[in-house]
Symmetry: D2
Subunit: 337 residues, 4 copies
């Protein structure tokens, strides 16, 4: 049985997902697309030679009787609207992050999903599908290092565009850790604090870079995440879990080991797209399989909401310099893992 | 367009390939299967819920008008027969190794393919599709280490069954290096010598283990391959290329780094199946894509023949203890890379 | 010319230093020793077959005309008294840490030394003499990673005795980082904060373990030091310097690399004594050479004072949970590097 | 008690050893020196401010009643003569390699020492004193990897002078492996074969580079040593021991780990002098201690002879291309380990 997909928004990532579902993954078929720029939607359909109808807007895609499930890759401000519409239509929806522009918006989606009575939303957090993070979590779950006590993490980019500002270190960069670290520790954030080292000369007035974000979790785990988006040397994601009996570290990507020019070296990636490229495939295949099976299991609307609440607390902590509470309500039983 | 596949032989690897083509890869559909044990063929078809016809024997599968291309995963002694029949039928065929039981048999397939006038055969050598070997070859092709002068390689298994004998170290184990090192160096073997260290206590009378196989190539590259199939500690494939300006080493599989019990350690695989698991997918997807495009590009009948000729020379060298010539005729223009 | 040494205190470390100066290092001779337990002093002299006079107390050793320089390895509460006496006698003195029991005590030594007008005191901080830390500092000084922005450090012991309490994590363990990180960054601490993850089950009521100590320096460098003295897996010292253009990490001690039991592993030390064993030799040889040359260059009384002031702030931060100022007065020109 | 040393030959290495014994090591004093160029001898004595008599030739140094033991660092052709004279005088002698210009010459020294009835000779092989090789041997002796079956070794230099020829790869470069691998395996060579890969463009007509030397030992261990003296990238010594249950690899020298320019790298040494610098100190201190104790334990005249016999076989194998026997007579009981 093939899952018939409608894709709303055919920008860069939308086109990537359409290609994936059509040319790489199994069990799905893109049958409907829309974009605010209809020419863009028509373009990708013809370029990939798809048998897919092009609609004038997303709501028609959602309404189409030919469509079993939705992928929302439209302009961020429209994510909430289309996701709510998909829920109203009772159709599974994969929504790229951010699920909504505010925690309140995420909460409305959560409430709508609970009211509907069945999980219909998967948020586009891909790291829980990365083989490295999965191996790291297995070490924890298998109790190879005892109870986790601390996490030391880093999220480094070689450089960022001129329009990247201090707050975006939270909303565009840390957002991935905000989700994956909850998943990794099966825990929630209790407080957050942000400290600013002196900035690198490679940044500009509106971006304090690097930053260090310090979390305490409900279980008392302490997490430090270094965010350094002008680190110059590469795109480097680090995560080290300190347990009671040992330490486990996220694998470095496999690389040819070279002996050259008086160095024994492996390569560090420089383009973030290469780092989690396989995870995107796994993530969408999981959505296709789970939607077909009628039971979504990936990152939920609640996870999107929790990340959004944590991000708001981080932004507040950037401003105040104080230790801020992360005010996440109790998880509804509906979302119990 | 979907490639309609006929699969001859539904043993373990046959079933794996059927699953791959049906549940993992894109662009193909298994429409016909056969096995000497018809129940086995029926079983896999029903278990996977395939719309595939079960035939009494492989020749009917080849003859079926519903079949575009073949996958031969039958009993080794039948590989040559079915591959020749596929060529006669003008249908692309993916044949698991060995292509034939003898170099002469491989040669007959080469001659038949040349007579037909178009590449129709891909041999099931998967290592050229492994991401690590591909990265290693890219380093060479990009001239990052200058001209290759030496290769130091190792093929180690933790243990082997009681029925594994000295000659099988060549025909079952080294056979993978015999292919991939030709591909990696774009060179051919000129001579081979086999030396036997004292054997491990973990082996038995009919298996001298470890062995070291020493090659000289046509270009003068020296290659040493350690074969150690009772190495106890893990399944470990090593390949190091010494070039004029640097050295490049096959990546170690990515692994969580642990600090535990006074050791800083990563994991070494113990099951060969895990080592190249992704390469099998890439290999078959390539066959599907190339067969659909009408031009096979993977390991050819000539590559199967060359590996078989080299294996024969290795077996002779095991017996004689002398330096033996690898008598491979010049590559027909038909197979020029 | 040979430096004639008087050693005050012949406990474990005193005996180690006597052995070093007598059997390992060049240019010195132990000519006088004392201990509160005279038998202990006589014992080491006879065991090593030294031509050294045994005195009833340290002041006689200091006063002895045969003595050129002092090594103070007596009971901690007596360090200040003997160091001040050595200064009064105008003799160079190597005093094991702590220089004094309080910052005020250290300050009295600083004032006495300044009053005397010449450096006479070297404190027993050995890490600046460790080859690894020296290599790490060279990377910074050679500007290979640009300006340091952050340091991520860890000080881990496999286990500690029952009588080890929360405050000792600062005074006995962190004290080494408090010195070496000032030396490494050529900077001083501005503020400190201590956070407590949930404690390991391997600790006891009077020891919160692990702890994370967070510093801001005068230059704005952010430093986090994890202290984990029941980490179970080994004695592990980590120091990573994040600079504007790259990251440099303290070398792991050299170790045989093993492939065994499905692990690719190197050994982690478990006994702190093995970690800096060479540094003790280098440290004392430097004292001997500098004292002979008439100009001490190692860790100064000011460095001992600065470490003590920082330790007091850390202890205060442990209590308050707040960000505490490190109130170090301006460095007197006398101590300019 | 201080060992009074006479040093014959004050070239570069002679001066180094004089400095070591005078300024670094314990328990010795250089009291007599000679050199064919007396000014050179006088120069080092005055530069280091030694109380040492300068003699016109080495035999006077040996004869001097002030001299307890000798260090022979003179012109290679004179090593045998001075070593024999030292034995005749019954004085311990540390002789730099080569012990003599021929195996026969080494044998004359062995016979003389046996005739004297007591070990008096230590040959200047320093690798058995290297901490890395000692750690590697400990792994073997502690039976952590079972019985050694194979060794894979490499001796690489970035470049060599124009006058370095094919045979020197054995006599100047491999000579270190010839000694240390006997010591490591506590075994002797049975046969040797040399194979030549195509040469690097960086070499010249009189030097075939690289070379691979293949040994079989008396116990049946197979050893391959790659010699590559124009490898360009660094001075790199590799030694990997494949045992029945695991593999142990010589430690890489400790180095700061850098993340920079898209590389995760450690430094490879380029100057051979830096690689074993500590081993020279340990080697000479051992000679001083053992000579003082009256029982030499370091590399013996027999070890020098064995290395010379093996080198001759290697040279023969370079010429013949055949498998050559290493004709070492049985070890005299006199030299039993």
């Amino acid at each position: 049985m093939t899952l018939k997909l409608g894709v709303i928004g055919t920008g860069a990532i939308g086109q990537e997902h359409i290609r994936r579902c059509s040319k790489v993954l199994q069990g799905a078929k893109v049958v409907a697309v829309s974009d605010i720029n209809t020419e863009s939607a028509k373009g990708i359909v013809s370029r990939l030679g798809l048998e897919a109808e092009v609609f004038a807007n997303g709501h028609e895609v959602i309404a189409s009787s030919a469509v079993d499930a939705l992928i929302v890759t439209s302009w961020d401000p429209t994510h909430e609207e289309f996701t709510l519409a998909a829920i109203a239509a009772g159709k599974p929806v994969f929504c790229e992050k951010p699920l909504a522009l505010s925690a309140e918006g995420c909460r409305r989606i959560v409430d709508a999903e609970i009211a509907y009575g069945k999980r219909l939303v998967q948020v586009g957090f891909m790291r829980p599908y990365d083989a490295g993070y999965r191996a790291l979590k297995k070490v924890i779950v298998d109790d190879e290092i005892g109870e986790p006590l601390m996490l030391h993490c880093a999220h480094r980019n070689p450089t960022v565009p001129e329009n990247y500002t201090t707050d975006m270190a939270i909303t565009n960069t840390l957002i991935h850790e905000l989700d994956v670290l909850r998943w990794l520790t099966e825990d929630d954030y209790k407080t957050v604090q942000v400290v600013f080292p002196r900035s690198t000369k490679k940044t500009h007035a509106r971006l304090r870079d690097p930053q260090v974000v310090l979390f305490e979790t409900q279980k008392g785990i302490r997490i430090d995440v270094e965010i350094f988006v002008n680190c110059a040397y590469g795109y480097d994601i680090q995560c080290e879990v300190i347990g009671e009996t040992g330490i486990a570290k996220l694998p470095e990507p496999a690389s040819v080991q070279m002996r050259k020019d008086a160095k024994l070296a492996t390569t560090i990636l420089t383009d973030w797209k290469d780092r989690f490229i396989d995870a995107y495939d796994v993530e969408l295949q999981a959505f296709i399989n789970d939607a077909t099976a009628g039971e979504l299991q990936g990152p939920s609307a609640w996870d999107g909401y929790a990340a959004s609440v944590a991000a708001d607390a981080c932004l507040k902590a950037q401003e105040s310099g104080a230790i801020e509470a992360v005010e996440l309500p109790p998880r509804p039983a509906f979302y119990n893992r």
